[in-house]
Point group: C2
Chain length 193, copies 2
Protein backbone atom coordinates (compact mmCIF):
# COMPACT_ATOMS: atom_id res chain seq x y z
CA UNK A 1 0.00 0.00 0.00
CA UNK A 2 2.43 2.62 1.21
CA UNK A 3 5.94 2.55 -0.18
CA UNK A 4 7.49 0.65 2.70
CA UNK A 5 7.94 3.46 5.23
CA UNK A 6 7.28 7.14 4.85
CA UNK A 7 9.39 9.85 6.41
CA UNK A 8 8.31 10.40 10.00
CA UNK A 9 7.41 14.01 9.19
CA UNK A 10 5.07 12.85 6.44
CA UNK A 11 3.36 10.38 8.73
CA UNK A 12 2.94 13.08 11.35
CA UNK A 13 1.59 15.61 8.86
CA UNK A 14 -0.91 13.23 7.29
CA UNK A 15 -2.09 12.10 10.68
CA UNK A 16 -2.60 15.68 11.84
CA UNK A 17 -4.48 16.59 8.68
CA UNK A 18 -6.78 13.57 8.95
CA UNK A 19 -7.47 14.22 12.62
CA UNK A 20 -8.23 17.85 11.84
CA UNK A 21 -10.67 16.88 9.09
CA UNK A 22 -12.40 14.34 11.32
CA UNK A 23 -12.81 16.98 14.00
CA UNK A 24 -14.19 19.51 11.55
CA UNK A 25 -16.65 17.04 10.09
CA UNK A 26 -18.17 16.68 13.51
CA UNK A 27 -18.66 20.42 13.62
CA UNK A 28 -19.97 21.28 10.17
CA UNK A 29 -20.88 20.00 6.73
CA UNK A 30 -18.01 18.64 4.72
CA UNK A 31 -18.88 20.93 1.83
CA UNK A 32 -18.17 23.95 4.03
CA UNK A 33 -14.73 22.75 5.07
CA UNK A 34 -11.84 24.43 3.27
CA UNK A 35 -8.19 23.50 2.97
CA UNK A 36 -7.43 26.48 5.15
CA UNK A 37 -9.82 25.20 7.83
CA UNK A 38 -8.00 21.89 7.90
CA UNK A 39 -4.48 23.29 8.03
CA UNK A 40 -5.44 25.90 10.62
CA UNK A 41 -6.86 23.17 12.81
CA UNK A 42 -3.84 20.95 12.26
CA UNK A 43 -1.56 23.94 12.82
CA UNK A 44 0.25 23.35 9.54
CA UNK A 45 1.05 25.53 6.59
CA UNK A 46 -1.60 25.53 3.89
CA UNK A 47 0.98 24.71 1.24
CA UNK A 48 1.86 21.54 3.14
CA UNK A 49 -1.61 20.20 2.48
CA UNK A 50 -1.00 20.32 -1.25
CA UNK A 51 2.20 18.30 -0.87
CA UNK A 52 0.03 15.32 0.08
CA UNK A 53 -3.50 15.85 -1.18
CA UNK A 54 -5.05 17.58 -4.15
CA UNK A 55 -8.13 18.90 -2.37
CA UNK A 56 -10.54 18.19 0.48
CA UNK A 57 -12.28 15.43 -1.45
CA UNK A 58 -8.97 13.70 -1.97
CA UNK A 59 -8.16 13.48 1.73
CA UNK A 60 -11.72 12.39 2.54
CA UNK A 61 -11.46 9.69 -0.09
CA UNK A 62 -8.20 8.45 1.35
CA UNK A 63 -9.58 8.33 4.87
CA UNK A 64 -12.52 6.30 3.59
CA UNK A 65 -10.28 3.88 1.75
CA UNK A 66 -8.10 3.30 4.79
CA UNK A 67 -11.11 2.46 6.93
CA UNK A 68 -12.30 -0.02 4.34
CA UNK A 69 -8.85 -1.55 4.02
CA UNK A 70 -8.74 -1.98 7.77
CA UNK A 71 -12.10 -3.70 7.79
CA UNK A 72 -11.08 -5.93 4.90
CA UNK A 73 -7.89 -7.00 6.61
CA UNK A 74 -9.84 -7.78 9.78
CA UNK A 75 -12.15 -9.95 7.71
CA UNK A 76 -9.19 -11.70 6.12
CA UNK A 77 -7.56 -12.38 9.48
CA UNK A 78 -10.80 -13.72 10.87
CA UNK A 79 -11.40 -15.94 7.87
CA UNK A 80 -8.01 -17.60 8.31
CA UNK A 81 -8.59 -18.76 11.83
CA UNK A 82 -12.29 -19.53 11.58
CA UNK A 83 -13.78 -22.68 10.18
CA UNK A 84 -16.50 -21.51 7.79
CA UNK A 85 -17.87 -24.88 6.76
CA UNK A 86 -20.12 -25.67 9.69
CA UNK A 87 -20.87 -22.07 10.52
CA UNK A 88 -24.49 -21.02 10.23
CA UNK A 89 -23.80 -17.29 10.07
CA UNK A 90 -22.21 -15.16 7.40
CA UNK A 91 -18.63 -14.99 8.73
CA UNK A 92 -17.65 -11.54 7.46
CA UNK A 93 -20.36 -9.82 9.50
CA UNK A 94 -18.56 -10.33 12.78
CA UNK A 95 -15.31 -8.47 11.99
CA UNK A 96 -17.29 -5.73 10.24
CA UNK A 97 -19.50 -5.21 13.26
CA UNK A 98 -16.54 -5.34 15.61
CA UNK A 99 -14.66 -2.76 13.60
CA UNK A 100 -17.65 -0.45 13.56
CA UNK A 101 -18.27 -0.65 17.28
CA UNK A 102 -14.58 -0.03 17.97
CA UNK A 103 -14.46 2.95 15.60
CA UNK A 104 -17.99 4.20 16.03
CA UNK A 105 -17.22 7.91 15.89
CA UNK A 106 -15.49 7.96 12.53
CA UNK A 107 -17.86 5.37 11.03
CA UNK A 108 -20.89 7.37 12.13
CA UNK A 109 -19.31 10.48 10.70
CA UNK A 110 -18.62 8.89 7.31
CA UNK A 111 -21.90 7.04 7.00
CA UNK A 112 -23.96 10.11 7.79
CA UNK A 113 -21.69 12.52 5.94
CA UNK A 114 -23.90 14.56 3.66
CA UNK A 115 -21.07 15.38 1.33
CA UNK A 116 -20.61 12.09 -0.37
CA UNK A 117 -22.34 8.79 -0.91
CA UNK A 118 -18.97 7.29 -1.79
CA UNK A 119 -18.49 5.70 1.59
CA UNK A 120 -21.89 4.03 1.48
CA UNK A 121 -21.15 2.67 -1.97
CA UNK A 122 -17.74 1.41 -0.96
CA UNK A 123 -19.08 -0.19 2.18
CA UNK A 124 -21.81 -1.84 0.19
CA UNK A 125 -19.26 -3.28 -2.23
CA UNK A 126 -17.23 -4.58 0.67
CA UNK A 127 -20.23 -6.31 2.17
CA UNK A 128 -21.23 -7.71 -1.20
CA UNK A 129 -17.71 -8.97 -1.94
CA UNK A 130 -17.42 -10.73 1.39
CA UNK A 131 -20.94 -12.04 1.88
CA UNK A 132 -22.52 -12.84 -1.48
CA UNK A 133 -20.62 -16.05 -2.24
CA UNK A 134 -21.45 -17.70 1.01
CA UNK A 135 -25.11 -16.75 0.79
CA UNK A 136 -25.30 -18.07 -2.75
CA UNK A 137 -23.81 -21.39 -1.66
CA UNK A 138 -25.97 -21.77 1.43
CA UNK A 139 -29.18 -21.05 -0.44
CA UNK A 140 -28.24 -22.71 -3.70
CA UNK A 141 -28.76 -19.47 -5.54
CA UNK A 142 -27.63 -19.16 -9.13
CA UNK A 143 -26.80 -15.85 -10.76
CA UNK A 144 -29.73 -14.02 -12.27
CA UNK A 145 -30.98 -10.50 -12.75
CA UNK A 146 -33.56 -11.06 -10.09
CA UNK A 147 -30.96 -12.12 -7.58
CA UNK A 148 -28.94 -9.02 -8.26
CA UNK A 149 -31.91 -7.01 -7.02
CA UNK A 150 -32.02 -9.23 -4.00
CA UNK A 151 -28.35 -8.80 -3.18
CA UNK A 152 -28.62 -5.07 -3.59
CA UNK A 153 -31.57 -5.18 -1.20
CA UNK A 154 -29.74 -7.16 1.41
CA UNK A 155 -26.39 -5.34 1.30
CA UNK A 156 -28.08 -1.95 1.49
CA UNK A 157 -30.32 -3.26 4.20
CA UNK A 158 -27.32 -4.23 6.31
CA UNK A 159 -25.96 -0.71 5.90
CA UNK A 160 -29.28 0.75 6.97
CA UNK A 161 -29.24 -1.46 10.02
CA UNK A 162 -25.73 -0.37 10.92
CA UNK A 163 -26.69 3.24 10.43
CA UNK A 164 -29.49 2.84 12.92
CA UNK A 165 -27.15 0.94 15.22
CA UNK A 166 -24.79 3.90 15.30
CA UNK A 167 -27.60 6.28 16.26
CA UNK A 168 -28.30 4.81 19.67
CA UNK A 169 -26.11 5.49 22.66
CA UNK A 170 -25.03 3.31 24.25
CA UNK A 171 -24.69 1.16 21.16
CA UNK A 172 -25.84 -2.42 21.14
CA UNK A 173 -23.02 -4.95 21.17
CA UNK A 174 -21.41 -6.24 17.99
CA UNK A 175 -22.64 -9.73 18.82
CA UNK A 176 -26.24 -8.56 19.01
CA UNK A 177 -26.03 -6.85 15.63
CA UNK A 178 -24.39 -9.86 14.01
CA UNK A 179 -27.12 -12.15 15.26
CA UNK A 180 -29.88 -9.84 14.07
CA UNK A 181 -28.24 -9.22 10.69
CA UNK A 182 -27.75 -12.92 10.18
CA UNK A 183 -31.33 -13.60 11.00
CA UNK A 184 -32.76 -10.95 8.70
CA UNK A 185 -30.47 -12.08 5.91
CA UNK A 186 -31.50 -15.68 6.35
CA UNK A 187 -35.21 -14.92 6.34
CA UNK A 188 -35.15 -12.55 3.41
CA UNK A 189 -33.17 -15.14 1.48
CA UNK A 190 -36.33 -17.24 1.50
CA UNK A 191 -37.71 -14.81 -1.06
CA UNK A 192 -35.21 -16.25 -3.51
CA UNK A 193 -36.84 -19.69 -3.35
Amino acid sequence: MENIKEDRRIRRTKKLLKQALAQLMDEKDFKDITVKDITDRADLNRGTFYLHYTDTYDILNKIENEILENIQSMINQDMEKTDTTNNTSVPALKPIAEYIVENADICRCLINNKASVDFLDKLQSLIYDNCSDIIKRRHNVKDSRRNEYYFSFITFGIIGMMKKWLEFKPMASAEEMVILADQVMKYSASALK
Copy 2:
Protein backbone atom coordinates in the same frame (compact mmCIF):
# COMPACT_ATOMS: atom_id res chain seq x y z
CA MET B 1 -46.37 25.02 -1.12
CA GLU B 2 -45.74 27.96 -3.41
CA ASN B 3 -47.50 31.21 -2.70
CA ILE B 4 -50.41 30.67 -5.07
CA LYS B 5 -48.80 31.50 -8.40
CA GLU B 6 -45.38 32.90 -9.16
CA ASP B 7 -44.66 35.42 -11.86
CA ARG B 8 -44.29 33.68 -15.20
CA ARG B 9 -40.73 34.98 -15.49
CA ILE B 10 -39.83 33.39 -12.18
CA ARG B 11 -41.31 30.07 -13.19
CA ARG B 12 -39.37 30.18 -16.44
CA THR B 13 -36.11 31.11 -14.72
CA LYS B 14 -36.37 28.44 -12.05
CA LYS B 15 -37.24 25.84 -14.64
CA LEU B 16 -34.27 26.78 -16.79
CA LEU B 17 -31.92 26.70 -13.81
CA LYS B 18 -33.15 23.30 -12.69
CA GLN B 19 -32.89 21.86 -16.18
CA ALA B 20 -29.39 23.24 -16.49
CA LEU B 21 -28.33 21.68 -13.20
CA ALA B 22 -29.82 18.32 -14.14
CA GLN B 23 -27.92 18.39 -17.42
CA LEU B 24 -24.66 19.30 -15.72
CA MET B 25 -25.07 16.57 -13.11
CA ASP B 26 -25.12 14.05 -15.92
CA GLU B 27 -21.83 15.42 -17.13
CA LYS B 28 -19.79 15.89 -13.99
CA ASP B 29 -19.72 15.64 -10.22
CA PHE B 30 -22.05 17.97 -8.41
CA LYS B 31 -19.20 19.30 -6.32
CA ASP B 32 -17.51 20.60 -9.47
CA ILE B 33 -20.58 22.49 -10.65
CA THR B 34 -20.47 26.24 -10.01
CA VAL B 35 -23.20 28.86 -10.08
CA LYS B 36 -21.58 30.21 -13.21
CA ASP B 37 -21.79 26.79 -14.88
CA ILE B 38 -25.50 26.65 -14.19
CA THR B 39 -26.33 30.16 -15.38
CA ASP B 40 -24.13 29.79 -18.46
CA ARG B 41 -25.97 26.61 -19.38
CA ALA B 42 -29.34 28.18 -18.68
CA ASP B 43 -28.27 31.31 -20.56
CA LEU B 44 -29.16 33.55 -17.67
CA ASN B 45 -27.27 36.20 -15.75
CA ARG B 46 -25.34 34.90 -12.77
CA GLY B 47 -26.95 37.47 -10.51
CA THR B 48 -30.36 36.05 -11.41
CA PHE B 49 -29.42 32.78 -9.73
CA TYR B 50 -29.00 34.54 -6.41
CA LEU B 51 -32.47 36.04 -6.67
CA HIS B 52 -33.88 32.53 -6.23
CA TYR B 53 -31.27 30.33 -4.58
CA THR B 54 -28.48 30.88 -2.12
CA ASP B 55 -26.03 28.41 -3.65
CA THR B 56 -25.78 25.19 -5.65
CA TYR B 57 -26.71 23.06 -2.65
CA ASP B 58 -29.85 25.09 -2.18
CA ILE B 59 -31.15 24.46 -5.70
CA LEU B 60 -30.21 20.76 -5.47
CA ASN B 61 -32.08 20.52 -2.20
CA LYS B 62 -35.16 22.13 -3.71
CA ILE B 63 -35.11 19.79 -6.70
CA GLU B 64 -34.91 16.83 -4.34
CA ASN B 65 -37.78 18.09 -2.23
CA GLU B 66 -40.01 18.60 -5.25
CA ILE B 67 -39.42 15.05 -6.43
CA LEU B 68 -40.30 13.71 -3.01
CA GLU B 69 -43.40 15.89 -2.82
CA ASN B 70 -44.49 14.57 -6.19
CA ILE B 71 -44.04 10.99 -5.06
CA GLN B 72 -45.89 11.69 -1.83
CA SER B 73 -48.85 13.21 -3.63
CA MET B 74 -48.97 10.22 -5.98
CA ILE B 75 -49.07 7.96 -2.95
CA ASN B 76 -51.84 10.03 -1.42
CA GLN B 77 -53.90 9.94 -4.59
CA ASP B 78 -53.45 6.21 -4.88
CA MET B 79 -54.39 5.61 -1.26
CA GLU B 80 -57.70 7.42 -1.72
CA LYS B 81 -58.95 5.26 -4.52
CA THR B 82 -57.47 1.95 -3.39
CA ASP B 83 -58.93 -0.33 -0.78
CA THR B 84 -56.04 -1.23 1.51
CA THR B 85 -57.81 -3.61 3.83
CA ASN B 86 -57.75 -6.78 1.78
CA ASN B 87 -54.56 -5.95 -0.05
CA THR B 88 -51.65 -8.30 0.52
CA SER B 89 -49.00 -5.86 -0.69
CA VAL B 90 -47.67 -2.65 0.81
CA PRO B 91 -49.73 -0.09 -1.12
CA ALA B 92 -47.26 2.77 -1.25
CA LEU B 93 -44.74 0.75 -3.22
CA LYS B 94 -46.72 0.92 -6.43
CA PRO B 95 -46.87 4.70 -6.86
CA ILE B 96 -43.25 4.98 -5.77
CA ALA B 97 -42.15 2.46 -8.37
CA GLU B 98 -44.30 4.06 -11.02
CA TYR B 99 -42.89 7.48 -10.31
CA ILE B 100 -39.34 6.17 -10.50
CA VAL B 101 -39.83 4.37 -13.79
CA GLU B 102 -41.48 7.46 -15.28
CA ASN B 103 -38.71 9.75 -14.06
CA ALA B 104 -35.82 7.35 -14.24
CA ASP B 105 -33.20 9.82 -15.44
CA ILE B 106 -33.52 12.34 -12.66
CA CYS B 107 -34.04 9.65 -10.00
CA ARG B 108 -30.93 7.79 -11.12
CA CYS B 109 -29.03 11.03 -11.09
CA LEU B 110 -30.10 11.93 -7.55
CA ILE B 111 -29.73 8.46 -6.07
CA ASN B 112 -26.23 8.02 -7.45
CA ASN B 113 -25.21 11.64 -6.92
CA LYS B 114 -21.92 11.58 -5.08
CA ALA B 115 -22.42 15.04 -3.68
CA SER B 116 -25.05 14.34 -1.12
CA VAL B 117 -26.65 11.51 0.78
CA ASP B 118 -29.57 13.81 1.48
CA PHE B 119 -31.73 12.33 -1.24
CA LEU B 120 -31.19 8.80 0.02
CA ASP B 121 -32.08 9.85 3.53
CA LYS B 122 -35.17 11.72 2.41
CA LEU B 123 -36.30 8.82 0.24
CA GLN B 124 -35.77 6.45 3.11
CA SER B 125 -37.90 8.60 5.38
CA LEU B 126 -40.63 8.69 2.74
CA ILE B 127 -40.63 4.92 2.44
CA TYR B 128 -40.61 4.54 6.21
CA ASP B 129 -43.46 7.02 6.68
CA ASN B 130 -45.65 5.34 4.11
CA CYS B 131 -44.85 1.69 4.71
CA SER B 132 -44.02 1.09 8.35
CA ASP B 133 -47.54 1.33 9.76
CA ILE B 134 -49.02 -1.20 7.41
CA ILE B 135 -46.17 -3.65 7.95
CA LYS B 136 -46.51 -3.29 11.70
CA ARG B 137 -50.22 -4.01 11.50
CA ARG B 138 -49.88 -6.97 9.17
CA HIS B 139 -47.20 -8.62 11.23
CA ASN B 140 -48.46 -7.60 14.63
CA VAL B 141 -45.24 -5.85 15.37
CA LYS B 142 -44.95 -3.62 18.39
CA ASP B 143 -42.44 -0.82 18.69
CA SER B 144 -39.06 -1.83 20.02
CA ARG B 145 -35.41 -1.00 19.54
CA ARG B 146 -34.93 -4.24 17.72
CA ASN B 147 -37.68 -3.44 15.25
CA GLU B 148 -36.16 -0.08 14.51
CA TYR B 149 -33.12 -1.92 13.25
CA TYR B 150 -35.39 -4.07 11.19
CA PHE B 151 -37.21 -1.14 9.63
CA SER B 152 -33.96 0.58 8.87
CA PHE B 153 -32.85 -2.64 7.20
CA ILE B 154 -35.92 -2.97 5.08
CA THR B 155 -36.27 0.66 4.01
CA PHE B 156 -32.64 0.89 3.03
CA GLY B 157 -32.93 -2.46 1.32
CA ILE B 158 -35.74 -1.16 -0.84
CA ILE B 159 -33.58 1.78 -1.84
CA GLY B 160 -30.74 -0.58 -2.73
CA MET B 161 -33.10 -2.60 -4.87
CA MET B 162 -34.33 0.49 -6.67
CA LYS B 163 -30.77 1.63 -7.21
CA LYS B 164 -29.99 -1.66 -8.90
CA TRP B 165 -33.23 -1.43 -10.83
CA LEU B 166 -32.16 1.92 -12.28
CA GLU B 167 -28.84 0.46 -13.44
CA PHE B 168 -30.25 -1.91 -16.02
CA LYS B 169 -31.47 -0.76 -19.41
CA PRO B 170 -34.10 -1.46 -20.37
CA MET B 171 -35.49 -1.24 -16.87
CA ALA B 172 -37.75 -3.89 -15.48
CA SER B 173 -41.38 -2.83 -15.18
CA ALA B 174 -42.75 -1.11 -12.10
CA GLU B 175 -45.05 -4.10 -11.52
CA GLU B 176 -42.14 -6.50 -11.45
CA MET B 177 -40.28 -4.41 -8.90
CA VAL B 178 -43.33 -4.00 -6.70
CA ILE B 179 -43.89 -7.75 -6.62
CA LEU B 180 -40.27 -8.46 -5.79
CA ALA B 181 -40.08 -5.74 -3.15
CA ASP B 182 -43.26 -6.97 -1.56
CA GLN B 183 -41.97 -10.49 -1.46
CA VAL B 184 -38.63 -9.61 0.07
CA MET B 185 -40.33 -7.38 2.62
CA LYS B 186 -42.75 -10.11 3.55
CA TYR B 187 -40.09 -12.77 3.99
CA SER B 188 -37.67 -10.62 5.91
CA ALA B 189 -40.51 -9.60 8.20
CA SER B 190 -40.50 -13.19 9.43
CA ALA B 191 -37.32 -12.33 11.28
CA LEU B 192 -39.43 -10.19 13.58
CA LYS B 193 -41.32 -13.23 14.86
